[in-house]
Chain length 122, copies 2
DNA sequence: TTAAATGTACTATGATAACTAGTACACATA
DNA sequence: TATGTGTACTAGTTATCATAGTACATTTAA
């Protein structure tokens, strides 16, 4: 389903959260789609079920999925998704941008970079 | 000299490294400038000298400073550093920004975020 | 020459977060 | 009824970071 870097400073459960959000924003996962069970995903990735559960709990807390005992976990309908996805992306940009600012890189340089990226063909 | 966030996920010693790099790339610290001693910086920040030493060792490993027992720690000469640092930061921003673009986030939104970050006090 | 400040190098300990391990129970569905 | 699911614990392990303390060689200035 996706890849995990066990040696990253980012905790595994958070990587799972990121990956699920990514799949949602790419349209791979849509409303009411069923996620892998806690146990099966843990088996797939080769980690403990509790870690997956922690990721799912985090996603439920953010309103991105809902869970039902005995049935499974599913993508939430509604537009909390889009907002969360937006936040997710902006947050991902924030950190390196703050670091760049701190390193003395000018605002203009960053904006120029933004322009170049948004000029690219897809 | 600079500020440390003890509650950050980023280790203190690495924050020190980042801050020193930042001061170098801003031109505050130039070649052969002397850094605060391990002990004095530890006293200033309110942390253990060993933590500062670890940061200095890391900086020496990267060739950014040199140390001399009995004399102190100094910024290395040579500007192979600054350009590499700049590239590294821009590269770190590129990836999440492309992801954001792909997710449909507008250029204006990104530029607005940039403006907000560059408006913040340090 | 001596004292103070510096870097360097250890060992030991504590603290915290992340993860693992195991168990148990309620619910839903085929 | 059996299986798979979420949920909820407790306990233990591991890794990383930070602290604490000590010791020693070198440099510099008093």
């Amino acid at each position: 389903m996706f890849s995990i870097d066990a040696r990253s400073r980012v905790p595994i459960y958070e990587q799972i959260v990121q990956n699920i959000i990514s799949l949602i924003s790419k349209g791979v996962l849509a409303a009411d789609d069923q996620l892998p069970s806690v146990r099966s995903m843990a088996r797939d990735i080769g980690i403990n079920p509790n870690t997956v559960q922690k990721a799912y709990q985090e996603l439920e807390l953010r309103g991105l999925i809902y869970q039902a005992a005995g049935r499974g976990s599913f993508i939430s309908p509604g537009d909390n998704l889009t907002k969360a996805v937006l936040d997710q992306h902006l947050k991902a940009i924030e950190e390196p941008m703050r670091a760049a600012k701190k390193a003395g890189i000018s605002k203009d340089t960053v904006i120029k970079l933004t322009g170049e990226i948004y000029k690219e063909e897809n």
